[in-house]
């Protein structure tokens, strides 16, 4: 009986759009692909629509602080949402970890990496791309891995920095850097590597990349905002998030 009523409501929501709202979200660059996939499902299931802006966490923070109309913020780290929360820009108690990122050493060339760190240690490349470690958690994690391997000094002059991991990925994808550290989500789809070759960096080699979300004050009274964050915590979203190589 309950299911029937729910179905009736769903039909009502979709057909009339009377209950459909729009939610505007800010999303860290690494979560672009999964969020698009989740948003498509969310829109189908609830009738609400998602308008997403993708960017580097620090840049989105600056925009939110200066009045950007975002209602939910999907950060690439834990500290930025915490900061916004303490500054009174978030809805207190709404913060949660939506994904734990995986770092991967990736090359656009098939066979360049053999699933281990051998090529990284061999140091036969000219450029190693990372995201700016001060701005991007994946960049910071990459420097921790290099430290752990004792390679920091050896590769210092070969490091090229992208402002976000999107740019680091761009450097590698265009062949300008032979290899580099990116988010697994950028090169992974449906449970496998979508192109090139890679070394999956063991999670214990760096601080966990916990990615937190926060409902912002502007979205406090929008029903679609809560619907989206609940949807993110649900099973359907979890499946999508995992298929892009994140942990939960």
């Amino acid at each position: 009986m309950h299911a029937r009523i729910a179905a009736l409501f769903a039909v009502f929501a979709i057909s009339s759009h009377a209950l459909a709202e729009q939610v505007q979200v800010a999303v860290a660059a690494n979560f672009t692909a999964p969020l698009q996939a989740i948003a498509a499902e969310f829109e189908k299931d609830t009738g609400h629509s998602v308008v997403a802006s993708f960017g580097a966490t620090g840049q989105l923070y600056a925009q939110i602080q200066n009045g950007a109309p975002f209602e939910v913020f999907f950060s690439a780290d834990e500290s930025t949402p915490a900061k916004l929360d303490s500054e009174g820009l978030g809805v207190s108690g709404s913060r949660f970890t939506y994904a734990v990122g995986s770092l991967v050493l990736w090359s656009a060339k098939p066979g360049y990496l053999d699933g281990s760190d051998a090529a990284l240690k061999a140091n036969q490349y000219k450029h190693l791309a990372i995201a700016n470690p001060k701005a991007a958690p994946y960049g910071l994690a990459a420097t921790e891995v290099l430290d752990k391997l004792g390679l920091s000094a050896a590769v210092k002059d070969k490091l090229v920095e992208g402002q976000s991991i999107t740019q680091a990925h761009q450097f590698i994808a265009t062949g300008n850097a032979e290899l580099g550290f990116v988010a697994l989500s950028q090169v992974y789809k449906d449970g496998q590597l979508s192109s090139g070759s890679a070394w999956m960096v063991p999670a214990q080699m760096h601080t966990p990349i916990k990615q937190d979300a926060l409902i912002l004050k502007k979205g406090e009274h929008n029903p679609a905002t809560a619907a989206l964050t609940e949807y993110l915590k649900g099973e359907k979203a979890a499946k999508i998030i995992k298929s892009f190589g994140y942990q939960l």
Partner: protein, 230 residues
């Protein structure tokens, strides 16, 4: 300490990049502007349009095509690799080449206007006095077009200082090599170091204002050949 060592290095690098770019632009832009000012060729309009492209193209377009064409699979990359130079992305040389293209119209257009304003008469007079074309260029054209050269230099220099998108896309943020002031400001904003961002950004505003003030003051007291963009 308002500015860090990295900030100073970025400012210095920016000035170096802008100076070298301006010099190269004066050397390459002068013959292009001269040709555009004099020619009756049907290629005048297409070439003029190509030179003006960076005026309207977003820097992301220029940066993206430079990244791809300078890369190991691109035509510039293939050329530089066959010459044993490696690839130019993430190098200072790469930035200079990108900047030359990016600021080209800012140098060529004022020069072209200056050359067009001189007209044929002074050159014909020089020819009757048996001055060869090179002689006439250096003794007649250059002095007459001096305000145009000043405008071109200032605009080329200032526009290169203000370059951001292209450097961001092909630079790789390497301190001392490709980390220029505009990128450093972006770094500070991204990492929430707003105080340092203010020092650099404020300096940039002041610098740009002084440059434009110098340009406009020179223009109002100078000749008509200093006009830029009609």
């Amino acid at each position: 300490m308002p500015l860090t060592k990295a900030d100073f290095a970025a400012v210095l690098l920016t000035l170096e990049l802008a100076s070298l770019t301006t010099l190269l632009l004066l050397l390459t832009g002068t013959p292009i502007a001269w040709w555009l000012a004099r020619t009756q060729s049907k290629w005048k309009q297409p070439i003029g349009a190509i030179v003006a492209l960076p005026l309207v193209l977003p820097p992301t377009v220029i940066g993206f095509y430079l990244l791809v064409s300078m890369g190991p699979h691109g035509f510039i990359g293939q050329l530089t690799q066959s010459l044993g130079l490696g690839t130019l992305t993430f190098t200072f040389t790469g930035l200079v080449i990108g900047s030359v293209f990016y600021s080209l119209p800012f140098v060529v257009q004022p020069l072209q206007n200056a050359f067009e304003a001189i007209g044929r008469a002074p050159l014909e007079a020089a020819a009757t006095l048996r001055a060869g074309p090179w002689d006439a260029f250096f003794t007649v054209v250059l002095p007459l077009a001096k305000p145009g050269f000043i405008t071109a230099s200032i605009l080329g220099f200032a526009h290169t200082v203000g370059e951001f998108g292209v450097v961001l896309m092909i630079g790789g943020n390497i301190p001392g090599k490709t980390q220029v002031a505009s990128v450093q400001i972006y770094n500070h904003v991204e990492t929430m170091e707003y105080a340092q961002a203010h020092w650099l950004a404020g300096g940039m505003v002041l610098f740009s204002f002084i440059v434009l003030l110098a340009l406009y003051s020179g223009r109002s007291s100078g000749r008509s050949s200093t006009r830029v963009w009609q």
